[in-house]
């Protein structure tokens, strides 16, 4: 499948943006600049971008606690996200949500989600709305290998099939649910088969390879968009960081992280493919890298200078209207 040059440029820029955003966030957390709990997506960039390349603004995604990459891939503004992580009132969510709740409804981002498998039922609701409105939209939920063991995920998958809703379940296997291996936590040997047993096709991809994810996601999204009911994408790719920033990663085998970074890098793979096909030049890719680095640097500068929330804002935005008389 050939991909338009413009799409390739955008895909690379987005993957690089996610990578640099996450690495910088990691550094800022270590510097004590970002409060709270943060989960980094570094290494899994091709999943988010390979999927979201097929979506427009009115298709929806719902994400996970490891949500920065999905949000960036769906068009969330990086500067607003960085301000949010810093806890500024100028952040995308006015400093009310932080890392685990980045959202931008106008861009079809129904939120990162701090509850593992909180998202799939909500995504089925968005898909159901598309079905009722007959507008050809799809709703994508990202889930990890941890969330597929939650009952809510099972409920959502079954209900999407029952309602024939255009829901796409993207399962990102990064091999660990927190500190526990998929070999332990998923009781069967074949997660793809278990998922397909719900009654929809699942397309498998190497999550280190943008082109593989793009192709698999393209099939799944086309299936759902055409009114054939839900579909799934199953992408395997490890994360480069711990479950959370600061995780000592006692579960890693010796050399595992080095191997991931060296031999399973979506950005390296993308560049290697471009060198082979000559679709994008090294100069073009280098220029993107430089622009992204500058953008991330600026976003941190802006976040550090951005307004801080005030005590009066604590009780704002709980309701649209609350008519209590006291």
């Amino acid at each position: 499948m050939s991909i338009a040059k413009e799409t390739l440029l955008h895909a690379y820029r987005t993957m690089r943006t996610i990578r640099e955003f996450e690495e910088r966030v990691n550094a800022e957390i270590m510097n004590g600049q970002i409060p709270g709990f943060t989960h980094l997506y570094t290494g899994q960039e091709a999943n988010a971008v390979g999927v979201c390349t097929h979506l427009d603004e009115s298709d929806t995604i719902i994400s996970t606690h490891r949500g920065h990459g999905h949000c960036i891939a769906k068009g969330a503004e990086v500067s607003g996200m960085m301000k949010e992580l810093f806890g500024s009132s100028e952040g995308l969510c006015k400093g009310k949500g932080g890392s685990m709740h980045v959202a931008d409804i106008d861009k079809g981002i129904l939120g990162a989600n701090g509850i593992v498998a909180g998202g799939p039922p909500i995504s089925v609701g968005s898909a159901l709305a598309a079905k009722i409105r007959k507008n050809g939209k799809v709703a994508v939920s990202f889930s990890g290998d941890g969330s597929v063991n939650q009952g809510t995920c099972f409920e959502a998958m079954n209900m999407a099939v029952v309602l024939q809703a255009p829901a796409v379940f993207v399962i990102e296997n990064n091999y660990y649910s927190e500190h526990t291996s998929i070999n332990y936590a998923v009781g069967c040997d074949d997660l793809k088969a278990r998922t397909e047993a719900f009654g929809f096709p699942v397309f498998v991809a190497d999550g280190a390879d943008f082109f593989a994810v793009h192709e698999a996601a393209g099939k799944a999204i086309a299936h759902a968009r055409a009114g054939n009911g839900p579909a799934g994408v199953f992408a395997e790719q490890g994360r480069y960081h711990g479950h959370f920033v600061g995780d000592p990663q006692a579960y890693r085998a010796e050399g595992e992280l080095e191997d991931l970074r060296e031999n399973h890098c979506p950005l390296k793979n993308f560049r290697a493919r471009m060198a082979e096909t000559d679709e994008l030049s090294e100069a073009e890719l280098d220029a993107i890298d430089a622009e992204v680095m500058a953008e991330i640097e600026q976003s941190v500068t802006d976040a550090k200078a951005a307004a801080r929330p005030t005590a009066e804002q604590v009780t704002e935005d709980v309701y649209i209207q609350y008519t209590a008389t006291a």
Partner: protein, 333 residues
């Protein structure tokens, strides 16, 4: 004015909302009924018949689901986030136990966590409360628990007229609304206009007006308290009876103004006593109307126990006329 049951009043509100706004849809277990079976799809209309007839008029907007409460609430929340106005049915309020996350961590918090940039106009309906010998898992009042979660609005109608107006308000509301229907009242009738009307949230109803004691009651306790108050009137005791109708928002002013006038307060609810509405409103009065009080505040509630099965046990469990009467008289002793 035509007399209608609470069941029919809510059903009429749903029909009228569906007619007026095509973004409204109903979803839940057996809200149509018979889906996929040899029977007539739509023949059930919910186990209590509240969604009766909707499927036959709007088959695309009356959606039977598997028994998957988390997915039902999640689907309502997600559809609402993208602009629909779902009315989901959770068959019994007790089943909040299997969809709590989708209610309290998801729909209740979207708007806040997303910095005020989302709206989630979903209504979740529940049959609620005791009186059916339905035992421990089909009898609870859960509205007092849900009232504690910011981001949710909580409605507890006590009669057919209010139920229709409150349901139409709930569907038009842009925030998530939990609507608890005391199932023991489904067949109780009241005068209910055929036309549409709304009842604002946070505005209590003075069911009776009097000078001696303020009685605040919720849901199915409102008609019980009204009967007690009517009987006491013959003994020369006159009471305000306040039905808050919504527990979130709560019409605090109505309660406080009444307490300031009477100096005596009795609160009646069918839920167990700890961290419930009787304690909540006692706390409110103690905090904000203490100097007006002439007697200790009395709370009438179920005991700290699950709801029992046997009719004799349940009758002893739920607040009744004797307990309400004794509490009112105690404030006058």
């Amino acid at each position: 004015m035509p007399e209608k049951t609470m069941r029919d009043a809510i059903n009429e509100a749903l029909h009228q909302a569906m007619e007026q706004d095509e973004s409204v849809f109903v979803i839940g277990e057996d809200v149509a009924g018979c889906s996929g079976s040899a029977g007539d799809v739509g023949a059930v209309g919910g186990v209590f018949g509240v969604t009766e007839g909707i499927y036959h008029r709007w088959p695309d907007r009356c959606i039977d689901t598997p028994i998957s409460e988390s997915a039902i609430v999640g689907a309502a929340a997600g559809a609402a986030l993208v602009g629909m106005r779902p009315v989901a049915e959770i068959m019994f309020a007790d089943f909040i136990g299997v969809c709590m996350d989708q209610i309290v961590n998801q729909m209740a918090k979207f708007r806040y966590m997303f910095g005020g940039k989302s709206r989630c106009p979903a209504v979740i309906r529940f049959s609620s409360g005791g009186g059916f010998s339905a035992a421990g898992q089909h009898s609870q009042a859960m509205y007092q628990v849900m009232t504690s979660f910011p981001g949710l609005k909580v409605v507890v109608p006590s009669n057919a007229y209010d139920a229709k107006g409150l349901m139409l308000s709930a569907i038009q509301d842009d925030d998530p609304v939990l609507f608890f229907e005391p199932k023991i009242l489904y067949q109780e009738t009241a005068d209910v206009p055929d036309e549409t009307y709304t009842i604002p949230f946070g505005e209590a109803n003075f069911v009776r007006e009097g000078d001696d004691v303020t009685v605040v009651a919720f849901g199915q306790m409102v008609p019980k308290a009204a009967a007690v108050i009517d009987a006491l009137a013959e003994e020369g005791i006159s009471c305000d009876l306040i039905d808050p109708r919504t527990t979130s928002p709560l019409d605090e002013n109505a309660i406080l103004e009444s307490v300031e006038a009477t100096g005596r307060l009795v609160i009646v609810d069918e839920a167990p006593p700890r961290c419930g509405l009787t304690a909540d409103i006692a706390g409110l009065a103690a905090d904000k109307a203490f100097s007006s009080l002439k007697a200790p505040i009395k709370q009438v509630s179920a005991p700290h126990s699950p709801t029992p099965f046997s009719p004799e046990l349940e009758a002893a469990y739920l607040p009744d006329a004797d307990k309400i009467t004794a509490a009112i008289k105690a404030t006058l002793a």
